[in-house]
């Protein structure tokens, strides 16, 4: 939620704190509220509520789509960033980060000072947090979520501090927590009072993550619970330090590309995005970036991506440091090409896409994707060829033109009856006499997307006296109450 608010604030929609705002996720019965602002919470909007109900409770609510994948990625980044305080951090469930601070607290001047520091830094990022330090991971989890927000718990009073917490603080699933509540066990103390033998028998089949006894032992430190900590993604950067300032980076590029590719190969990675940066002697930095359709570690190919782009870099009075870094990299296994020594065609195509995108920009080379729509221009979503392959437009049931005029061009039409086909039309100051026609094919507007008042389209396939075939449509019909006399448009040309 706070990530989104920060995004909104950056886009200039400030003052979001006091505004009821909710993020929704698609559920089986329509969108469900996923996260809210405090203002929305006060108005009675809670996570888990359906979006329609939330709007009824709070009519001024603003709703937007949640982005759980983006949140996950941001949380992972945050967990890696948190290694500034201790070397052992990991993402812990949705919205949580676990840190093993053993032996690191004295560097910040003690546990309390460390919590202050973490809270301050996160607030500087625009994030609120609830923090707890405890001897076990389970206890820290529970105190952070069910405590006051800044908790420090020492080993002697572990049982006393965690005892009054509800059983949900044991990281149990909804079903198990409900079962315990029905059994009359509300707090951790209640659970500790139950004889171990009967608990073990009752939950013999439960998974370790859902077993109250296991969770209780983990919280009290009777069972070990190591923190699995992800490796930091490797960084790749080749640099050339020059003794004298230079004006043209071209001669340095092959060596830099070779060095970068050797680094990538050593780790089994390939570059998806590379950035060349010039550090000028007057302190300014200028950089160019190029992207690739497929991970690569071919020095020649990487060097070629910057062809024609280096002129755009402003070297000023010369630069004395050049870096070539892989800003995006992904794993790339070595592959054995076929034994018949043919070149890898997919690889060739990916390189072609890279070169064209590097020269004309990443949005220039496009491919058509398919979208479920009957409106001809909406049926195709053009996506950059650098991205993944979208589904292809399937063979349509009715004939469609080879070429589309985008946007459609208005034509003057002579017709025998207003509802009928055109008899003659004037397009680009040329008169076309219609000799054959097929239609109409009626395509209704999409009321769930279009503005109210959008008119339907009646498409006609026509052939003129010179043998050219066109696709015309009439926008609306006479008397549909959505405007005056319907206008005609030229939308495409058939073979």
């Amino acid at each position: 939620m706070e990530r989104r608010l920060a995004l909104l604030a950056r886009r200039g929609h400030g003052g979001a704190d006091d505004m009821p705002f909710a993020l929704v996720l698609d559920g089986p019965h329509g969108p469900v509220v996923h996260a809210t602002t405090p203002a929305a919470e006060e108005a009675g909007v809670r996570p888990g509520l359906r979006a329609v109900d939330a709007r009824a409770v709070c009519p001024s609510l603003r709703v937007d789509e949640a982005d759980p994948r983006g949140d996950e990625a941001a949380l992972l980044d945050l967990a890696l960033w948190a290694r500034r305080w201790c070397p052992w951090t990991a993402v812990d469930g949705p919205g949580g980060i676990a840190m093993d601070v053993t032996g690191s607290t004295h560097l910040q001047g003690g546990e309390a000072a460390m919590l202050e520091e973490i809270g301050g830094r996160l607030a500087g990022l625009g994030l609120s947090c609830r923090l707890a330090i405890a001897p076990t991971r389970g206890a820290a989890w529970a105190l952070a979520r069910f405590g006051t927000g800044r908790e420090i718990c020492d080993a002697p009073d572990l049982a006393a501090r965690t005892g009054p917490l509800p059983v949900r603080a044991l990281r149990l699933g909804e079903d198990t927590a409900l079962l315990l509540r029905r059994l009359g066990i509300r707090t951790v103390d209640d659970l500790s009072a139950v004889p171990r033998l009967s608990l073990a028998r009752r939950f013999a089949r439960a998974e370790a993550g859902d077993n109250p006894l296991v969770r209780l032992d983990q919280m009290m430190g009777r069972l070990p619970e190591p923190l699995h900590c992800p490796d930091e993604p490797p960084r790749f950067l080749a640099r050339a330090v020059l003794s004298e300032p230079m004006l043209d980076p071209t001669p340095l590029l092959p060596a830099l590309a070779g060095e970068l590719c050797a680094m990538l190969a050593a780790k089994g990675f390939g570059a998806r995005r590379v950035m060349l940066a010039l550090f000028r002697s007057d302190g300014a930095v200028s950089s160019v970036e190029a992207a690739t359709a497929r991970a690569t570690r071919d020095p020649l190919h990487l060097a070629r991506l910057f062809e024609g782009k280096l002129e755009r870099l402003d070297p000023g009075f010369g630069f004395d440091l050049v870096t070539l870094g892989a800003t995006g990299a992904e794993e790339l296994r070595s592959r054995q090409p076929g034994l018949d020594s043919r070149r890898d065609e997919g690889e060739e195509l990916a390189r072609f896409v890279d070169r064209v995108s590097a020269r004309f920009g990443p949005q220039a080379l496009l491919r058509p994707g398919f979208q479920e729509s009957h409106i001809p221009e909406r049926r195709e979503a053009w996506t950059p060829a650098l991205g993944p392959q979208p589904p292809l437009p399937p063979v349509p049931h009715a004939p469609r033109p080879l070429r589309l005029f985008d946007p459609p061009e208005e034509v003057q039409v002579v017709y025998a009856v207003p509802e009928g086909p055109p008899a003659q039309f004037v397009w680009r100051r040329m008169t076309h006499r219609v000799t054959r026609f097929a239609g109409p094919e009626r395509i209704a507007p999409e009321w769930w997307r279009d503005r109210p008042g959008t008119r339907l389209r009646d498409y006609y396939r026509v052939e003129d006296h010179t043998g050219r075939r066109f696709w015309l449509y009439r926008e609306g019909v006479v008397g549909d109450g959505r405007g005056g006399t319907p206008r005609w448009f030229m939308h495409g040309a058939f073979a």
């Binding site: 065609e345 009715a398 080879l402 026609f437 050219r468 040309a493 058939f494 073979a495």
Partner: protein, 221 residues
């Protein structure tokens, strides 16, 4: 309405190896050259077709519509589309693409007679196409047939179509008049052509005057 089938004795047309061919449109808005080129793409399943247009070609002739291409060829067609600002960029992209055998064909559209499109440029394209085995097509609109190294030069226009089998007023399967006015290794000539949906190839037939096209529509409804 009786109309002799011009395709009855099919004229044998030699298969040629991939090279550079130029196709001139008689009128810029006619999509017949597009259909003519598309019907000769060797195997659309082999890979994507690269389609490069300069800006004026797109504005005057429209952009390719992938659903329509699929509707002519009766199979989904992969294309890579690039709109370039200048004719030089179109030629650069075509030349880069012709080094890439994974493409099914390379189609470039150039408006008018830009100075960049000279004998040398076409010769480079032709040699690269022959070297890599990718067919290259240059669609020319509002252009004169100046000096060029294209191995075949066609002039293509739409012809009034025969009536559709189930609706006499509707346009039927499209036919095109194709004029080969300059070629290397084969005789120039004029044919009437159509896309054969069964074999997926281009049929060449004798150019016989077809029966009169349908009279213009008068009263309807």
């Amino acid at each position: 309405m009786k109309c002799a089938d011009p395709f009855a004795p099919a004229t044998p047309v030699p298969d040629r190896s991939p090279t550079l061919c130029e196709v001139f449109a008689l009128t810029p808005t006619d999509a017949a050259p597009t259909g003519f080129v598309l019907a000769q793409v060797p195997d659309p399943a082999r890979g994507p077709i690269l389609w490069v247009q300069d800006r004026l070609s797109r504005r005057e002739g429209g952009r390719p519509y992938a659903t329509g291409l699929a509707s002519l060829l009766r199979r989904p067609v992969q294309i890579l589309y690039l709109e370039a600002r200048r004719a030089v960029d179109v030629l650069w992209a075509m030349e880069e693409a012709l080094g890439c055998p994974a493409l099914a064909a390379v189609i470039g559209e150039v408006w008018g007679d830009p100075p960049a499109l000279d004998f040398t440029a076409t010769k480079r394209l032709a040699l690269r196409a022959e070297g890599s085995g990718v067919q290259a097509w240059l669609l020319r609109r509002a252009a004169r047939a100046d000096l060029s190294a294209a191995r075949e030069r066609w002039r293509v226009s739409g012809l009034p179509s025969p009536p559709a089998p189930d609706d006499l007023r509707a346009p039927g399967a499209p036919i095109w008049q194709a004029d080969l006015f300059r070629a290397r290794g084969r005789m120039p000539g004029a044919w009437v052509t159509r896309h054969d949906q069964g074999t997926g190839r281009l049929d060449f037939g004798h150019l016989t005057p077809l029966a009169d096209p349908a009279p213009p529509l008068r009263a309807l409804g």
